[in-house]
Amino acid sequence: TFPGSPKWRKNHISYRIVNYTLDLPRESVDSAIERALKVWEEVTPLTFSRISEGEADIMISFAVEEHGDFIPFDGPGMVLAHAYAPGPGINGDAHFDDDERWTDDVTGTNLFLVAAHELGHSLGLFHSANAEALMYPVYKSSTDLARFHLSQDDVDGIQSLYGPPTESPDVLVVPTKSNSLDPETLPMCSSALSFDAVSTLRGEVLFFKDRHFWRKSLRTPEPGFYLISSFWPSLPSNMDAAYEVTNRDTVFILKGNQIWAIRGHEELAGYPKSIHTLGLPETVQKIDAAISLKDQKKTYFFVEDKFWRYDETRQLMDKGFPRLITDDFPGIEPQVDAVLHAFGFFYFFCGSSQFEFDPNARTVTHTLKSNSWLLC
């Protein structure tokens, strides 16, 4: 943060785009600024509204050379922009050097990237020495815009000023990285906790909830807690289902009628695509849960009270499906939230309950709380 840690003393901040560069259509400038603000909005309780006249908290302008603040720009190259820490008057304002060639891609100077950085200053962040951080002072033309995300350093910085975003009561306020607080005080130990999706990933188990996930490794007993976007910026929040196909080293994420694919930190190209490319009928618009079994090379998709089975070898849906969940998994309630396969058992997550199902005995062997994996 800046010396003295100046910050806005309110959570609702106004901004105004005072003038425009001629390098881009106005709507591209508007969009770049909106997206840049959203980057910060997603990790804080801050909200932004645009005004078209009068004094806004953050006044955004394009200018060349001397432009009224005694810190002149320097023509093309070198200094791209500057911004002021929160406060009245010129404080909070962001100035962009219009001698640069502003673009919405990376052929010139990308306005979104620079704006996201400058608006970080407008909100109170100083430069970071972490080269991965958005707040590192040097412009990185190689940044992949589709995969842009804040570094943990940026998130830690801004949350040190404003805290994490306000969440719904069952998620509560939690930091975006692993912590060592008393588990009893964490929302993961809320008896009402349910998950959107659960998947393995290279031997770890990920429990997805809204915009976050818990990461449980067998090596470390204490789960880590992260923003989904801090690992995979293009993945949706509030996902419906997730499953890992281990022999493809790929985790598939499902939300609505779309499917995404990730391999480790990498988001695979060609996604999202329609779930109907898997062979599901058009009537299916959402999958509740999914699990892929390595030994069978089959993936099960659970939709309301039915399930489909997909053959990973043939890349086709098996015939004879859908079947009723209760026919093959007696004791499991229809509409499961998530399913996990471990130690030879299926673990079905239904709201705050979890059912351990033995596929050989075809019976539920234990009923647990959904958060039992998180060592509460």
Binding site: L80, A81, H82, A83, V114, E118, H121, H127, V138, Y139
Partner: protein, 82 residues
């Protein structure tokens, strides 16, 4: 004038401006050119190299020079922004 001499001077000028603008080096040209190997200047170069993730040589090496020529934000890296 020898070619390398003027190249070095140009580099020192860029370095001086960079340290003044972003690392709070006092604006004293004489002190800088005469005492470019003096410990306060070397310290400032090292401070810059450390912040930007470069090897802390305390010298105007090619990596440092290259990074100083990259586009960047005009807000200083250390100290206040007056």
């Amino acid at each position: 004038y020898p070619l390398h001499g003027s190249e070095e001077d140009a580099g020192m000028e860029v370095l001086q401006k960079y340290l003044e603008n972003y690392y709070g080096l006092e604006k004293d040209v004489k002190q800088f050119t005469k005492k470019k190997d003096s410990s306060p200047v070397v310290k400032k170069i090292q401070e810059m190299q450390k912040f930007l993730g470069l090897k802390m040589t305390g010298k105007l090496d090619s990596n440092t020079m290259e990074l100083m020529h990259k586009p960047r934000c005009g807000v200083p890296d250390v100290g206040g922004f007056s």
